[in-house]
Symmetry: C2
């Protein structure tokens, strides 16, 4: 991949015009505020290859499923976040000629910067138009972190040649479509398109078909010039696109500009009848505040995020930029103030994967938000799944389960399953265990046991009931077995006794029984109420869970400590990744699917994922033997894989291996290793990168309520520094060549364990 | 299913109008002649639910693949037989009012008959039109078995009320489409539409897009009446539909009629420039011969087919009708005079499965055609695969195989794979062994070893090379294993060491090595030429094949003679079909796919299919133990399953079980057990039904060149009688309560074994 972005510790910079990379840049330079997001499309018209994308969190369309061969139990619809009203549009004409970078005679200067510290997207272009006229464009925009319903753009055109009539037409475009559409259906119905040339305002209200979300997008635009202003503004209107044009006559060096204030509201937060007014009010309030004030409050909000969420790396700007890029995008994607929202694998940076939620959230994102945000934020991620419990029960019923068993979907927007490959949808059921694990992880981290008595236990219960029905007794093995599953390693399908899944299921059953007994003993009224509500037969069910957990078959390589990924794993030809012809990698682009399936090669951590989750259940020798067995067989063709290996390699004292794997994750999108950034960024795996640093190199763990750190400084780094929020404290952790230093930045006295020694940290006097 | 068809030994009769069953009847009453086929659509317009279908053998369109999730190695296109020019159309108007059964005021009489003896479709209808006019329609049509490019229709309308002006408009309609289209693409381009009112002729020439097959359909229509004939004929032409109309004025009891002669030719048999002329010449020659003469020669051709292909069953008309229905449709589907053609699972009775070929041909259809037709006919089925060898090699290369390994497609029209479920396309590879087995079966049956030195060995070689690469050595088992396959039982996917596949692969390797050594020894020049052409390293390859055959892992249930369907089979919950809730059957309509996969239930014979193919490799106790193990676990949800169980049950002396299973196959479509006849008939499984009678109840085998029979008379049958062609003889076999009688009907002296005793049969003096 041609490196075309400059390395800066706080910015991503593209200096020079790279027309082949436009789609990729549109992803990388995306901005958002957790409520909505926007690819880095140009404001002015662009006829080159581009994926226009404006996305509103939680507003989705159930696109009719497309399959080659239908299987019973498939979902009818794939819910996808959809492209929404284009609010960045500012058409530009010079002497009546449309400005379009793809049609410019030449582009003399192009610079684009994503200022991650302040959350700003900026662009400067100097170009010559076919008529010979030359102009400079400067633009600046942001989705306000301070006012989640607001965005603002400042856009300036300067004449570089004499006698230019420059027309700027800021507007809104409700004629949008999805590239990712299964049947080319329309996704939106437009309710209203309005504009006033006199006021410089515009409004588009549209409603999703089927799901009936109404979104109002309002604009207030201020035109200005230091040249000769045109007499009046003019309304432009075609289809559902509307704009307010104004023309200025500019001498060389003079400019015309627009400040565009956007209010974006929806039925997620307002009555349908009030959406338009709310959007207009937001835009007007933003305009009243003015661009500079909005920008300041936005920057302040980002400063607050960085103050408790930054990782500083010394001596390696590329690593520094990479980690901040990840933290930046995670915060743009999820703000944690709405339990209906979650973290799509591509966030608001593309259409792929439909903006829906996967188990990535529970396995990778939750720890990030636990450590970098107030506890209310990660708690929303748990609440999201609790809100979907009824649908998880329906989903399980669809597959033949009974009695309140819950199967959480592999991919979802609203609790319904969206995916339709049987080997994933029906069989990659380990995701269900991740829901329970996340609850336990949350409780371990926060110490908040009250969550169990509230929304925690019902989820644990539904999941445990699923596992109890999903196993069957094998007379042949004299054990409970789990047949026909797909583990985290999706390069195997429909296997029997995937160790990870079996172990996780057994853990779920045991943990749920433990929690049940604890509630029974300590909160009898809560327990009585759960018993009534969910029809729990305590004596029988708990006994059944424990028996199945106890008797679960866990495949192991005889004479070793190696847990076998699944039954029959050793029948495979035991080749190592080193033996692969580099020309055949990644194998998923070179091998047919059957060949991948029967090969030994592992897409992503599977047994090792289990050892990572349940680290303390296993001794060091088990960790080492399994790592040495599986790492050489793992091709890491999932972005979610290397981070787990980094954490384990660090733990095992293998810094070179850890750093080698870290490099695969940290700049995945910036350097576009897999040549797929054009589709959108790998948002959820960015949390894995954060884990690599904090849990891997920083050695951060929470054991029995005590935070622990064991820093290891990667070669070439002078130091690294991060903060973690922990139970109302903020800890600052600095790792240098000399060791690990932990300080209490906020909150009350706390014991921590640093490089194996317990220390008591006290507030500064 | 409501029984709405009458039972007759030689006919299928629908007496009464069943508007809900129109699609189903259209399938059941289909006619064809192996060159083209036609669903039993009405000649006149019909606005009710109907699937119009005119199909031309070998003329296909590569419909762009539709999938939910693409996998490397999937084919780009699914080749499907496509609906072609509608040649049956005869519009009828009475006093200007269109006749349409769906819009009739009442239908007083409706009778449809498929005369299987003579290959005729006949219909009588009496109806009242909305205007009050009443008419009788009589129609009769056939696709000529004597002239495969010809069809003919006789159509009469009789006035049942006074003063009717009846207009008959026989025509051709080139505006056709497929219901089964992945992307609603156009499949045809129309080259020419012509007609002459004066001559009563019409022509449509159209060409398939992409594949560029040109089809010419020509009509000569003769109008007649015993009423008052209209002055002249009139041309009607809209779009690509053209017709020649003529009006007659009829008094009560008088009639108007049309005789319509069709010539249908294509670039399969003519230069493109000559297609239209050839079609016109065929239609004219047919018209010159006249309807009655054509009908006589067609009936004579059918008489010849029945004379060596009938099964007569005494005392059970339903069974008699069922078996003749099967034999009739098999002969309508395949005539064996063109190596480019094969037997689609639905023949020319519907669009489903695209008219393509499956391993059904080799496993089920070949024995039928071997025993009922001259040897040239089944030999074409082998030639078809030989012609596709290069594409099978390409297909294997696409999946990573090398050195001339061949993988025949699961579904094909032209040698290219058409299917796109990875678990079938890439993994149901046992089909490859069926290609070799068919060659061996042909040689065993015919004694024609010369085929091996011609087209046989290259196919055996490609298949053997595939298996040799497809297995891998398992250190763990100290054996060759085959991972990631789907056996004939498609209710299991991606299993390891499917016994049937492993056994078949080992057999292929051994048989190919045997044939190679025989050629080497007996036909050194042929061998030298093969060696050169296919780059055979005889010493190494043959040794390798034998070692792999010898060392192949064959899973077995310890302490028994039961071969295990695959590794891990005994981990399943061992339930029996009897334990299934009848409301949940068929399970493929009630259970989600994962539940089916992990259940013990078997869709179709798998281990038993292997025991059926390789019967003599196993002793009687092995047959019995395996049958007793698998039959209670088999749900027979494939139409291809019961026949194999019938043969085995008969062999094991279990006549009740055999007859119970026979009933599931014999009237599958006539009684529409699976409520899917509307899509088309189960043509290939019809050959299985024939096997049930001839190999099952008749006990027919060929061992060491000697035909053997061991008849068993099902309860309720007075007798059954069939013929088999065997090495230039025709044998007549009659089974009664007293035993089995075999007579030599044609050909030279022959030894046969009847009920265990060798008899010498001599030609009648």
């Amino acid at each position: 991949m041609k490196p075309y972005l400059d390395v800066h510790p706080w910015s991503v910079v593209e200096s020079g015009w790279n027309p082949e990379d436009v789609r990729r840049s549109e992803s990388i330079f995306s901005i958002g505020n957790g409520r909505f997001g926007q690819r880095a499309n140009f404001e002015e018209q662009y006829s080159g290859d581009s994926l226009r994308g404006s996305y509103v969190a939680g507003v989705y369309y159930p696109d009719k499923t497309r399959v080659g061969w239908w299987k019973n139990g498939y979902p009818e619809y794939f819910a996808k976040v959809l492209n929404a009203t284009n609010w960045i549009a500012i058409d530009v004409e010079v002497n009546g000629e449309a400005v379009d970078l793809a049609r410019a005679t030449s582009i003399e200067h192009f610079r684009r910067e994503l200022d991650m510290k302040a959350g700003l997207l900026m662009r400067e272009v100097e170009l010559t138009l076919p008529s010979g006229a030359r102009i400079r464009i400067e633009s600046e925009r942001f989705c306000s972190m301070a006012r989640p319903e607001v965005a603002a753009i400042r856009y300036r055109v300067t004449a570089l040649t004499e006698g230019l009539e420059v027309t700027l037409s800021p507007g809104l475009d409700g004629d949008v479509f999805n590239e990712d559409s299964n049947w080319d259906d329309a996704f939106w119905e437009v309710d209203a398109v309005e504009a006033s040339a006199a006021d410089g305002t515009a409004l588009v209200v549209n409603t999703t078909l089927k799901t009936a979300y109404t979104v109002g997008t309002a604009m207030v635009a201020h035109h200005g010039t230091d040249g000769e202003a045109g007499e009046h503004s003019e309304l432009r209107h075609f289809g559902n696109r509307v704009a307010v044009s104004r023309t200025a006559r500019l001498a060389t060096g003079q400019c015309a500009w627009v400040e565009k204030f956007i209010g974006l509201e929806s039925t997620l937060h307002h009555e349908r009848s009030g959406v338009a007014l709310a959007a207009e009010a937001a835009a007007e309030a933003a305009a009243d505040a003015g661009f500079d004030a909005l920008k300041s409050e936005h920057a302040a909000a980002w400063a607050a995020i960085w103050s408790t969420g930054d990782i500083e790396i010394g001596g390696d700007d590329a690593a520094q930029q990479g980690i901040r890029f990840n933290i930046f995008h995670l915060n743009q994607t999820y703000r944690g103030d709405d339990e209906r929202l979650n973290i799509g694998p591509k966030g608001f940076t593309g259409e792929k994967y439909g903006g829906a939620s996967y188990w990535d959230t529970e396995a990778y994102c939750l720890p990030f938000f636990l450590a970098t945000h107030p506890v209310e934020v990660p708690k929303q991620l748990l609440a999201y799944r609790y809100a979907h419990l009824d649908r998880a029960v329906e989903n399980a019923e669809k597959l033949g389960f009974k009695g309140g068993a819950a199967l959480y979907p592999m991919v979802t927007m609203n609790g319904e399953e969206c995916h339709n490959e049987w080997e994933i949808t029906f069989e990659e059921i380990h995701r269900n265990g991740a829901m329970s694990f996340a609850i336990a992880n949350y409780v371990r981290y926060t110490g908040d046991r009250s969550y169990l008595a509230d929304k925690g236990f019902p989820v644990l219960l539904g999941v445990a009931r699923f596992w109890a029905q999903r196993v069957n007794w094998s007379e042949a093995r004299n054990a409970w077995v789990m047949l026909g599953v797909t583990g985290p390693n999706e390069y195997e399908n429909n296997v029997n006794n995937n160790w990870y899944t079996n172990y996780l299921a057994a853990w779920c059953l045991r943990y749920t029984a433990d929690v049940a007994e604890e509630l029974q003993a300590e909160q009898p009224e809560v327990w009585a109420s759960f018993t009534r509500q969910y029809g729990i037969d305590a004596e029988h069910e708990l006994k059944d869970w424990r028996a199945k957990a106890e008797g679960m078959h866990l495949p192991k390589l005889e004479g070793t400590r190696v847990w076998l990924q699944q039954d029959g794993f050793m029948d495979k030809e035991q080749r190592l990744v080193d033996e692969l012809d580099p020309a055949e990698r990644p194998i998923n682009q070179h091998w047919s699917w059957d060949r991948i399936l029967r090969s030994v090669y592992i897409k992503q951590a599977d047994v090792l994922q289990g050892l990572y989750f349940f680290e303390d259940d296993f001794d060091a020798a088990t960790h080492a033997e399994n790592f040495d067995f599986y790492e050489p067989r793992t091709v890491h063709e999932s972005s979610l894989s290397p981070c787990v290996h980094v954490v384990l390699a660090s733990k095992l004292g293998r810094p070179e291996k850890a750093y080698e794997l870290y490099l695969r994750t940290a700049r995945l999108d910036l350097d576009d290793y897999n040549a797929e950034a054009y589709q959108g960024l790998h948002i959820t795996s960015m949390a894995g990168t954060w884990l690599s640093v904090v849990e891997g190199f920083g050695g951060f763990r929470v054991r029995e309520g005590v935070p622990q750190f064991t820093g290891q400084l990667p070669a070439g780094w002078s130091h690294f520094r991060f903060t973690v929020r922990f139970r109302d404290r903020l800890l600052g952790v600095t790792v240098t060549g000399k060791g690990t230093d932990v300080t209490l930045l906020e909150g009350a006295t706390l014991n921590v364990k640093v490089d194996g020694e317990v220390k008591s940290l006290h507030p500064a006097a």
